[in-house]
């Protein structure tokens, strides 16, 4: 038999002025199971709480109803009080008779009636409350960072700095990412490599950081604090532990006509290669698509020249399994492919390049050693046209609906650098809007216009036509002077939209995190939790969450690290006990709940059941991981059989409330 105590608060006159609290206590004392019903001036005060605690002990209460202010205010206060008196905190219910009654009604009679009904509903609910215990699950003190660009490197360094082991998984042979390909950075124009490469070295030398380069995440299991991740270390045919990075093999390799992806295919590399001089780890990799030894068993030069015997043609993909407490996603971005934009002649004219290609053309370590030359005939360009928003802000399937954010600034940077280095070059920038919010950003753009005489023209380029004389006709509109222009250009640079890396979507599936329609990871809250995913224990760093420039990326990377460190500092995590649970005997195994769960908390397994006729049957049933479930209840309604229910807000509890209100 339930023994329920009801405690009605006056809240000074806040409640008592419009609700007859004595009458409420009196009315509720007649409810079934209620053994004590009292009112008090300030129930949340020290003495008010004592009153509740004493009543729990004195009457051996099995449930407590507090008629007071909103549960959002003092539910925790009273739960703690109950717990200190030996009653399970989840056996406390609050009837909100202040915010939702006394403060909004003026008529004492109707406010009192309503307060009684709200009290009755709480009593009806508390009858069905079950004691709940918050579970605990241990936290593995190791973090995984997926992606080794500037975002991943910064996150890893910060986590390592806090004293935790951290692994970086990078799919390319070296860490560094896009920033390693960039020449100069805005708005300060300092050299990207000069600020990035020390960080890469720092990461490789930090004893808490393990870099898995040329590797991919192939499977993720588990949940916050306890992920088990399988990492695929792709065969690079070079023993990483032996290779010294001397580069002799790359010099001797006879296969020299491999497009160099680090230089955006603007020059060639060898089949065995080190992507760039400052690569980390500085280890060679053999490209099996071009290596003659791997393709048809004829060559073996690299193996012969290698003094440490690091070449291993028999190497295969290896899989390693590791446990992590937190995962940070830093998969970054890529410029979109422009082959669908025929009007810009990108595919047919070598002198029409993307901005990232221009970075390489201007870089001292690039194909031309830092001299800006036309890719087609290696001559100096004298007229360069920049086209902004290529594929950004597009409503069609060719492009992306969002603003890529970084293009305005890097285009200003390119324009400025070219004008500085080659003052005889005319630079035109066709823009729709120039978007330069950010510290010193607009000043930077204005400098390009005012000091460097870059011609900014409001309007879009409509057509780019390569001409027989090697020049390029750029047909565009100038919306301010309302005329159509033709510019006889030597080079055209397209500011291609950026998109999330292609590996992000399969990764999101493995991590059960959410993505938007553009494949950017969705943050747990757009304003207040911008670096966490909705899935506990998964954090977001850098451009995988949305277009970002370097300072923003680094800021977010450190923020994600701080969140991950916050998790790793805990020995165990307390779980919210108000979570869903499935009655296996009733579960059909239909997967409806699994499909609506935003956290991937529901898994299925085949279990053996004893049937009423004593036979056994194997059935597929759902089980909820209480450490992952956040208790929204979406699954409980998706479940047709009613096998799924929610602790603290069970079907029967809510229906009891409905009944009490409607009675």
């Amino acid at each position: 038999m339930q023994r329920i105590g009801v405690f009605v608060c006056h809240c000074g006159t806040n409640i008592a002025a419009t609700v007859d609290v004595k009458a409420v206590a009196e009315a509720l004392s007649h409810e079934p199971g209620v053994v004590v019903s009292q009112d008090y001036q300030y129930m949340c005060s020290e003495s008010g709480q004592e009153l509740v605690k004493n009543a729990i002990k004195e009457h051996g209460l099995t449930g407590v109803v507090i008629c007071s202010c909103s549960p959002r205010m003092h539910e925790n206060t009273f739960r703690k009080a109950a717990a200190s008196a030996g009653l399970n905190p989840y056996l406390v219910e609050i009837a909100n008779i202040r915010e939702q009654c006394s403060w909004i009604h003026k008529n004492i009679a109707s406010a009192t009636d309503k307060a009684v009904i709200l009290g009755k509903a709480a009593v009806a609910k508390v009858h069905l409350n079950a004691p709940l215990t918050a579970g605990e699950s241990p936290v593995v003190k190791r973090a995984l960072v997926i992606g080794g660009g500037i975002a991943g490197i910064q996150t890893a360094l910060d986590i390592a700095e806090a004293g935790f082991d951290v692994d970086i998984v990078e799919k390319e042979p070296t860490i560094g990412g896009k920033m390693a390909q960039i020449d100069k950075t805005f708005p300060t124009l300092d050299c990207a490599a000069c600020i990035l490469t020390p960080k890469m070295v720092e990461a490789s030398q930090n004893e808490r950081i393990t870099i898995h380069s040329f590797s991919e995440v192939s499977d993720v299991k588990g949940f916050v604090g306890n992920f088990t991740v399988t990492i695929k270390k792709k065969a690079r045919y070079v023993d990483e532990t032996k290779c010294t990075g001397c580069g002799l093999c790359t010099e001797k390799c006879p296969m020299k006509k491999v497009p160099n992806e680090f230089n955006m295919g603007l020059d060639n590399r060898t089949a065995v290669y080190i992507p760039f001089a400052q690569a980390v780890p500085k280890v060679a990799t053999i490209d099996p698509n071009y290596c003659m030894m791997l393709k048809n068993g004829k060559c073996g030069v690299c193996s012969k020249v290698c003094s440490v015997g690091a070449i291993d043609y028999k190497q295969t993909d290896r899989f390693i399994e590791q446990k992590y407490g937190a995962i940070v996603v830093a998969t970054g971005f890529n410029p979109i492919k422009l082959d669908k934009y025929d009007e810009f002649a990108y595919s047919c004219c070598p002198d029409v390049v993307t901005s990232l290609e221009l970075e390489r053309l201007m870089n001292a370590a690039g194909p031309n050693g830092g001299t800006l030359l036309r890719p087609s005939d290696k001559t100096h360009p004298h007229t360069i046209v920049f086209v902004q928003c290529v594929g950004s802000r597009c409503d069609d399937e060719k492009g992306k609906p969002y603003c890529s954010k970084i293009c305005c600034m890097y285009t200003a940077k390119h324009a400025m650098l070219i004008r500085e280095k080659y003052p005889d070059t005319e630079v035109y920038v066709f823009y729709i809007d120039v978007r330069t919010p950010g510290k010193n950003f607009d000043e930077f753009y204005r400098r390009a216009v005012e000091q460097y005489n870059v011609h900014y023209i409001k309007g879009m380029v409509g057509k780019v036509t390569p001409k027989a004389d090697g020049k390029i006709d750029v047909q565009a509109s100038d919306l301010l002077s309302n005329e159509q222009l033709h510019i006889n250009a030597d080079m055209v640079v397209l500011a291609a939209a950026i998109e999330p890396d292609k590996t992000a979507r399969p990764l999101a599936t493995m991590l059960t995190t959410q993505m938007d329609t553009n494949d950017f990871f969705t943050e747990a809250h757009p304003k207040l939790r911008p670096v966490e995913s909705a899935t506990a224990g998964i954090f977001l760093s850098g451009a995988c969450q949305g277009p970002k420039d370097i300072p923003e990326t680094v800021a977010q990377a450190s923020a994600a690290a701080a969140k991950a460190i916050g998790l790793l500092c805990k020995n165990s995590i307390t779980c919210n006990p108000c979570v869903a649970h499935s009655d296996e005997l009733m579960c059909n195994g239909c997967s409806a709940c699994e499909k609506v769960c935003p956290y991937g908390a529901i898994t299925y397994q085949d279990k053996e059941f004893r049937m009423p006729d004593r036979s056994t049957a194997i059935r597929r049933v759902a089980s909820v991981n209480p450490a992952v479930c956040q208790g929204c209840g979406a699954c409980t309604v998706a479940c047709p059989s009613g096998a799924m229910d929610l602790n603290g807000f069970s079907n029967s509890q809510i229906m009891a409330e409905v009944d009490a209100i409607c009675k």
Binding site: E343, C389, R393, C394, D395, D396, G399, I432, K458, G459, M460, V461, G462, K463, Q475, A476, S477, D478, L479, N482, Q484
Partner: protein, 127 residues
């Protein structure tokens, strides 16, 4: 501003002119640009404002080749050619009848006329 006319153009063209982000790519791509008094992007903007009267009286209406380059290139899917077409239809219907019947076209053809103009003329006048 004539609201009915604007609504009518919205309906007949099936175009949402508010999607325009004023990049001017339609005008940048237009082969008849120099012939026109009002250019494709101005059509879109003026229809959005409801400033249709000047368009109805402009020679620009008949300079559009309906080559659909602007439709193809518009990053926002605004389809300026359809707006121009709708304005043209409004002008044609205003005057009470169709000025050119399909049967009359063969007599008017001359050898120098580009093929595309013939095709687009049919597209224009057989509505």
């Amino acid at each position: 501003m004539n609201k009915n006319e604007k609504d009518w153009i919205d309906i007949t063209s099936g175009v949402n002119v508010r999607k325009c982000m004023r990049c001017g790519k339609c005008s940048a791509t237009c082969p008849s640009y120099d012939e026109m008094e009002y250019h494709p992007h101005q059509f879109v903007y003026m229809v959005e404002k409801g400033d249709i009267e000047p368009l109805l009286n402009s020679v620009s209406l008949y300079k559009c080749l309906t080559c659909f380059a602007c439709v193809e290139r518009c990053p926002r899917g605004v389809e300026p050619a359809k707006v121009i077409e709708a304005v043209r239809l409004t002008a044609v219907r205003k005057q009470g009848n169709n000025h050119l019947l399909p049967d009359q076209i063969p007599d008017m053809l001359d050898d120098d006329l580009p093929q595309q103009a013939i095709v687009t003329a049919f597209r224009k006048y057989t509505k």
